[in-house]
């Protein structure tokens, strides 16, 4: 009784999540796919390190942190580009994208220096 109602509630929950998410605009969905890809790459690297060992540690660190770094920056871009965010409505999406590119440049410059 209670069990099936929770199962039903969970199903309803996922249904509403899916429908709400389907309503987001396409450009945000593209950013979300990019974030998912970056996190997946990071997970693959961690699994590889667990299998093979962590030497050289700086290469592992730079690889994982570059994936997490671009994921975080993409999330920031999504926050700034999202039209539902009232705080950022006077920030042009081009400006947000330019900031994103600049931050990524700095991040990858550091990564290339640190990778060794």
């Amino acid at each position: 009784m209670g069990r099936s109602s929770t199962v039903k509630e969970t199903q309803a929950l996922f249904q509403s999540l899916r429908s709400a998410y389907a309503a987001t605009p396409n450009n945000l969905k593209i950013i979300d796919v990019y974030v998912g890809f970056a996190v997946l790459t990071a997970v693959i690297q961690v699994v590889y390190m667990a299998v093979v060992g962590s030497f050289p540690f700086n290469s592992f660190l730079s690889g994982v942190l570059s994936c997490i770094g671009t994921a975080v920056l993409a999330v920031c871009l999504r926050i700034q580009v999202n039209k539902d965010n009232k705080e950022f409505k006077d920030v042009a999406p081009e400006r947000a994208f330019a900031d994103f590119i600049l931050c990524n440049l700095v991040l990858h410059l550091v990564i290339m220096n640190f990778m060794g």
Partner: protein, 788 residues
């Protein structure tokens, strides 16, 4: 001290855009001029030591930085990164590239290179001496920017003026004090400014700049761990008090990722950036902020009923996962004996830790807790303006003002642990005092302006002010200017806004008295403004006195005033170092207590055993044991380390209190901590170290006593030690294993040479004789001396 902007919030605002922009421009020009003057003030107040003494590097640590900068300017950056120094910590050497914070030396080296390429022939020493005053001017400007983000330009200018003069910052950044803090305080305040700016604007550009400024801070000082723990604490505070916003995410998340990467780039930090407990707080809050962001996002796209279901589901599943992760983390951290924290950080958290476990950290005088008077000496008037500033930060409470409150609270706690960290308290105290003073001036000048009697006829102004009073009848923040749609006379209004106490005339309308304003009585306001100005004057007088008298001593040169007013200069240290550099071979090793290591390598250019870096406790304990042992054993220790000369500092003839006999208790403690045959009670009589006739025989026979007091009776016939204020115990003795080669003019530095081993040994061979005596001694004593 009050800027024109603080008088801006009067009611005489005009709606005309042109006059407003003109007024803003004029205010901006005045603010700029004030900032330039503050920079000049910050630079010049630190020049007392150059004027009173000479342009010389002070103290001990700056000599090491100076030597490193010399090497960098001579050999270039690649050799600097890979430098292995073999002239210190003989025979171990020291990897300079991997153990020094490069920010300061790279900054000074860059300035030197740029200046010389413009054909301005400044020497490296001049650049090093004046780096600190220049960066203190930058730090004042950074404090202006930070406080402007928190409260407004008026508070910013006040905070900048206070920081330019605060004695605690002056003490570590006079001209000649070429130490990490000179640059690090500027980096600290600038990083905080960029963090607050990112938090207020939500722009990724400032987040990038914030990460780069944090990188500069990591390069400069070990105190960067303060930033990487304070910012996560603030983020957590914002989340817990319900102030989460997407700007917070943009301010924090890129900083953690980019900042960790940049911190790992610096060799001295390296992998500690991800492995030590000092950084775990930032990672933990990184995870927490992602969870919170996800929760807010889902809350935004779901209906409330569905959100409740989601919450119950997540809580039940997530709790189990959380417990597992936390259990693993605790197991990992608890497996290391110090729980992953370094010794210095543990000292900050538990102030009694160092005295129990690491006597070297406890022995540094800068690591002692401060006394109450030192608070008043170092931040003076700000000590009781800070609580007023904290209250002002609550009206209204924004993200940035909550950050400043957190900063002051944590820095007050840490300053109570170590005197040295009063330096971190100084910018926080200046910011909050600037806010407090600016708010006070706002209220008082507004009260005065409302109540000055009579305006020469301008009813429209009067009505406009009347409407302003309606809108602004409560205490407002400086930037809060209520709008009005009434056209008004522009020129008189503009003039009124600029001058604070100008005689603004207004015609009191009868209806004005009906609305009660929260203003103070006129006489009280005028007196209060005068008293505040007087307070500022006292602060300035104290700061200038502290800079001139208390904090400008280079401590390598001492002065005193003789009875007829003349100045007597004690230049014994440099005399001794130059004797060493001229009269010994380049490869000779000099043994002394670790205080003088940096100076010896920099000025005398000789190899030393131990220096101020104090990274190897056993080596320092070896030197301490040698100083506490009788002559023969000390000779053997030094001979095994290839030492040729021993240097001791002795202040008994002139009354110099920081000599080696006063530091002797640390030699015994540190030596006894590693070599158990040195027992501290052997040197104590009634629990005190004594050198007079009541001293213990172990004390009277130890090397430090003998080297300090050899031939001391010849100075005044009685052997009266001016520092300890007694006559010494053993007055006439000869040295058997050392010979005196140099004593400086005031007997402050004494240099001895190890006598070479005898070629012919009388009687039985030394080895069998000593081994037999040792075996008999061993039965009696039970503690082994490793050098026999």
């Amino acid at each position: 001290m009050a800027s024109p902007e603080s008088a801006v919030n009067g009611p005489t605002m005009t709606a005309g855009a042109a006059s407003k922009s003109l007024r803003n421009a004029f205010g901006g020009v005045i603010a700029f001029i004030i900032l330039v003057l503050i920079g000049v003030l910050a630079f010049s107040i630190r020049l007392f030591s150059v004027i009173k003494y000479e342009s010389v590097i002070h103290e001990f640590d700056p000599y090491f930085n100076y030597r490193v900068t010399q090497f960098l300017s001579k050999n270039g950056i690649y050799d600097f990164w890979n430098w292995f120094d073999d002239r210190t910590w003989y025979p171990l050497g020291r990897v300079i590239g991997g153990t020094v914070y490069p920010g300061l030396t790279l900054t000074a080296g860059t300035i030197w290179k740029v200046v010389n390429s413009l054909n301005i022939p400044l020497s490296v020493e001049t650049v090093c001496v004046f780096t600190a005053p220049i960066f203190s001017a930058f730090a004042s400007w950074a404090a202006y920017l930070l406080t402007k983000e928190v409260k407004g330009p008026g508070a910013g200018l006040t905070a900048a003026a206070l920081l330019a003069m605060v004695p605690s910052y002056i003490s570590r950044s006079v001209a000649g004090s070429y130490d990490n803090e000179a640059v690090a305080i500027f980096a600290l305040v600038f990083t905080f400014y960029l963090y607050i700016k990112t938090l207020n604007t939500g722009s990724l550009f400032y987040a990038t700049l914030n990460a780069l400024a944090y990188f500069y801070m990591v390069c400069s000082w070990g105190g960067y761990t303060f930033i990487i723990n304070l910012i996560p604490m603030h983020v957590l505070l914002c989340i817990v008090t319900g102030r989460y916003s997407s700007r917070l995410y943009i301010a924090y998340a890129p900083l953690v990722v980019l900042g960790t990467l940049l911190a790992s780039l610096v060799p001295v930090v390296g992998f500690n950036a991800v492995l030590t407990s000092e950084h775990f707080a930032s990672f933990l809050v990184f995870i927490i902020i992602h969870v919170v962001a996800l929760a807010y996002y889902i809350k935004g796209i779901l209906s409330p009923k569905m959100f409740k279901v989601a919450v119950t589901l997540v809580v039940s599943v997530g709790l189990a996962v959380c417990c597992a992760v936390i259990a693993i983390l605790i197991a990992v951290v608890a497996s290391s004996p110090t729980k992953g924290w370094s010794g210095r950080s543990l000292t900050l958290l538990d102030p009694t830790y160092a005295s129990k476990y690491i006597p070297i950290i406890a022995s540094v005088s800068e690591h002692q807790p401060p006394t109450w008077p030192s608070y008043f000496m170092d931040i003076n008037v700000l000590a009781f303006l800070v609580p007023a500033g904290i209250i002002a930060c609550f009206m209204p409470l924004t993200d940035s003002s909550s950050f400043v409150i957190l900063y002051i609270v944590t820095s007050v706690y840490f300053s109570g642990v170590m005197v040295r960290l009063m330096l971190v308290l100084a910018p926080a105290a200046c910011i909050l005092s600037g806010i407090a003073l600016s708010e006070a001036f706002n209220v008082l000048t507004r009260s005065i302006k409302f109540q000055l009697p009579g305006i020469a006829g301008n009813p429209s102004i009067a009505v406009r002010m009347w409407r302003k009073e309606n809108g602004s009848s409560t205490v407002v923040a400086p930037n809060d200017i209520p709008k009005t749609e009434e056209a008004a006379k522009e020129k008189p209004a503009k003039k009124n806004r600029k001058k604070e106490k100008e005689n603004v005339e207004k015609k009191p309308t009868p209806s004005k008295t009906e609305k009660r304003l929260l203003v103070l009585p006129l006489e009280a306001s005028v007196i209060a403004v005068l008293l505040l100005v007087l307070l500022g004057a006292f602060y300035v007088v104290h700061c200038v006195w502290a800079a001139a008298e208390a904090y400008s001593a280079p401590s390598i040169v001492l002065t005193s005033h003789s009875n007829d007013g003349g100045l007597h200069v004690f230049d014994d240290f440099r005399e001794a170092y130059s004797w060493l550099s001229h009269n010994t071979d380049v490869d000779d090793k000099v043994a002394s207590w670790w205080d003088y290591g940096y100076q010896t390598t920099a000025m005398a250019n000789r190899t030393v055993l131990v220096d101020n870096n104090t990274w190897n406790n056993t080596h320092i304990a070896t030197v301490g044991t040698a100083m506490s042992s009788p002559e023969k054993q000390a000779w053997e220790i030094f001979h095994s380390l290839d030492v040729k000369y021993v240097l001791v500092v002795f202040g008994g003839v002139v009354g110099y209190p920081s000599d080696d006999i006063n530091k002797f208790l640390w030699m015994v403690r540190i030596g006894g901590g590693v070599f158990p045959h040195i027992k501290e009670p052997d040197y104590l009589r009634d629990g005190q170290y004594r050198i007079d006739a009541q001293a213990t025989p172990t004390m009277l026979n130890c090397l430090m006593y003998k080297l300090s007091y050899f031939r001391f009776v010849e100075t005044d016939g009685k052997g009266f030690d001016r520092v300890r204020r007694t006559e010494i115990g053993k007055k006439h003795f000869k040295l058997t294993h050392f010979e005196e080669v140099f004593t400086t003019h005031h007997w402050m530095v004494r240099i001895y040479k190890l006598k070479p081993q005898r070629n012919r040994i009388r009687g039985k061979t030394k080895k069998s004789k000593s081994s037999r005596s040792v075996s008999s001694k061993r039965d009696v004593r039970g503690k082994r001396n490793p050098w026999h």
